[in-house]
Symmetry: C3
Subunit: 340 residues, 3 copies
């Protein structure tokens, strides 16, 4: 179904193999050889396609689906239409993601240096890395195996990029050390000076920013996002953090492992975001704060104080979510009492 101009289907796969890939259990082991050729949503899938059910709201589509196979949670299995093979998983969406990666893997690096790319002789580029056309790799930079540097991207002097990374088109990296399996999307800016200067009526004076950006393994940083390097300490993006497009991460910030930061959110300088915390779109965290592990900030939240681990906040200034909704209800009552 995916447009063949852009995507290559690595299938077909036998259902048994897909169960393994997806860490799921085949409901009827005898169906292990059933051939699955592609992925499709429940309402469009046919007999050789696999779909998934992750939300009760789609149960009617599930019950009416012609999909040949479907990944489902154990509790939903009995609602399956006849003829549908089931892959049972406690985490159907995760299983589906793994299977989808098998059908449509990220294209591997094509080792070598593209036309017009400029690689400094002192750079250490793994022979199995791919340097795209027009890309620039400056002095002393190191690029790991199977890493792809996109067209017209710039890897600055001394930068280290690990193995199996992708750096998108027109992205730029400077003053940073990047782990393995990291994806930097097109146009992201990593490692430029933080916003630090001594304010003065006679003219602000720049304070040299002497730290780096440390990006741990399995991180993603979205298109046109910006991550400034530290002022003295480093800016750190913890393992597996997912950062969306147009996000700003200020100098010295520390983003916990597995944190999720949605588009256009911002984290000001020296703030710490806990492990697996989630920041909604356009949320902002002021400087020098701590957002605890697993905390959740609704979209457009404005956080001006520390947020405890596991807490959910909303609004600007941000309130605990129950208080926020109670305040909204109070305001709506107030409004009603004034008549309309």
């Amino acid at each position: 179904m995916a447009d063949p101009r852009f995507f290559r289907n690595a299938g077909p796969f036998a259902l048994g193999r897909l169960a393994e890939i997806g860490a799921a259990e085949l409901a009827e082991p005898a169906q292990a050889d059933r051939v699955i050729r592609d992925l499709a949503p429940l309402d469009r899938a046919g007999a050789e396609e696999l779909s998934f059910l992750d939300n009760r709201k789609y149960l009617p589509q599930f019950e009416a689906s012609a999909a040949g196979a479907c990944v489902v949670a154990p509790a939903m299995a009995e609602r399956a239409p006849s003829g549908m093979s089931l892959l049972i998983s406690p985490k159907p969406y995760r299983s589906y993601a793994l299977i989808a990666q098998a059908f449509y893997p990220v294209p591997p690096a094509v080792p070598g240096t593209g036309a017009g790319a400029i690689v400094d002789p002192s750079a250490d580029v793994d022979p199995n890395a791919e340097i795209g056309p027009g890309a620039v790799v400056e002095s002393g930079a190191r690029i790991g195996p199977r890493t792809r540097i996109g067209p017209n991207a710039v890897v600055g002097a001394g930068v280290v990029v690990g193995a199996d990374c992708t750096v998108g088109a027109n992205a730029s990296l400077t003053h940073c050390l990047i782990g393995d399996r990291v994806t930097i999307y097109p146009g992201a800016r990593i490692g430029q000076d933080g916003f630090g200067f001594a304010m003065d009526p006679a003219g602000h004076v720049r304070v040299p920013q002497l730290g780096r950006v440390i990006i741990e393994d399995d991180v993603e940083i979205g298109a046109n996002s910006t991550v400034d390097r530290g002022a003295g300490p480093d800016t750190r993006i913890g393992r597996g953090a997912m950062i969306d497009n147009l996000v700003q991460i200020g100098h010295n910030a520390d983003i916990g492992a597995g944190a999720v930061i949605v588009a256009q959110a911002g984290v000001a300088g020296s703030s710490r975001i806990g492990r697996f915390a989630a920041l909604g779109a356009q949320a902002g965290v002021a400087g020098h704060l701590t957002v605890g592990d697993g905390a959740r900030l609704a979209a457009q939240s404005g956080v001006m104080r520390d947020v405890e681990a596991g807490q959910e906040v909303c609004g600007a200034p941000a309130l605990p979510i129950r208080q926020f909704f109670k305040l909204q209800a109070t305001l709506m009552r107030l409004l009603k009492n004034k008549g309309d």
Copy 2:
């Protein structure tokens, strides 16, 4: 008046010709041969320059203006000073825009491939397209006639760009199909993966994003804006939509024809924005919502529910505009009653 280092005046034009171009009526047909050499604002225009009046607030400037010609609505015409030739139009600003385009047309493509550009041999580039210096056009991409690809821009594999388009410097396109007369401003990022993954404490798992971005004719997408490709369905930008700088459009979003999205606004995944709807600067629309045709979202609105066609909303969370202003008034009263 425009700096000749940057702009080339294609005039002079006879007034009769400008009336045709602007879909306006010359008040005095005998003045059709009057020569107009340039554009200028009412308070600075001279006898060979054309201006326009679109807002009653500038009536005093209109009455005192030395402009040789002016585009005005019928109702204002009688207020014109003597000596001023009038182009009468029910839509003076639109007429002025058309005339201004005639004086200062977008520079035409200069057919050919600039120095240092890298065009894959399998790409299909129209002989009348212009590929700027350092630009990269990857395998199988198609570029239509009179389209200009800016310096150091990147057109990814399989991408289709129609006729008479402009792709700005350092912009990047991937997994997208683009119509005719589309303008992509510098640094815009089109078609990268949407923000889709199965969240998991053991490590989030990327879900392959198998859709595309479809951009219809006459669309504009501003500098450093980001439009993610669909997860399975496509992301679509409808005909004539105008998108400003630093805007985020999430995967599977559908932006209606003629919609206007001002700077730093964001539309989350799978939301639909109606035809000719308007989103103010820094507004946000949460995921899976519908904003109706012609709806208007004030700047910084936070939309968490569907918005009906034609409705105007403001605030975060967004309220119908009358309620919003009533609530503000109520709060100000509350504040006053507490004394100061």
Copy 3:
């Protein structure tokens, strides 16, 4: 201490020389020859390192510090531990910034044109300018002495960049005139068309944007920020203004000298920001407004009316800061009275 892969220490310096550089006074003139080799924070500095104290909250660290030298305000000097040399300054952070610049100066331009750079023969590039690899300099552009144009950056036709400027990787400049000692960070977009068109149900009509962007001396513009050119008048960024990442400046805006605009803030078209005004992160200023000299807008403020000189505002819609906090207190009381 700074990672030598990325930073080169220009020291050591004699303490007497650092006092001169920092416009500070050496408490014990006899210590003028003491050698200082690097910078470090109070809690980690050793006998040959210099630190600073700018905030009473760090007094305990100051009193316990092993730093060889420290920049302090006169009032704190008596709290210094024995063995620490003192540089007395009324503005310790400013003095520290100047000293830090001496230790870690911005690397000078390396005159010449990098591999793969494309410089139009009609461009006027100073022989002491550095044009990075893959950069593009178009016809008629002028680049001043000691200015560095980053890798894959684009300087458009007719653009003027003064002396001692830095233009970051992948940035693009068009229709602009830039003074001396200006820093444009990576991916910034300067001079593209403003967001101007005649709205029309039959299709919006672009209004040619015939102004420029004027950037005065000593300005900084952050990574991936966007500054649109004027519609007829110019967009102007006043001397010494500091603009952070992902900021949007609309057409015809006028940013006063020394103004500070933090990340993800936006200034809509034709608004004027006063000298040394400060806009917090994610703040927004609507179009055609005036924000007075020295005014302060808190993060996420939404400014819909003029702000007087020196005024501090907060909230959306923005209120004077005292009113804002009073309103918050009132709302919290309201919430409490409803019980929980």
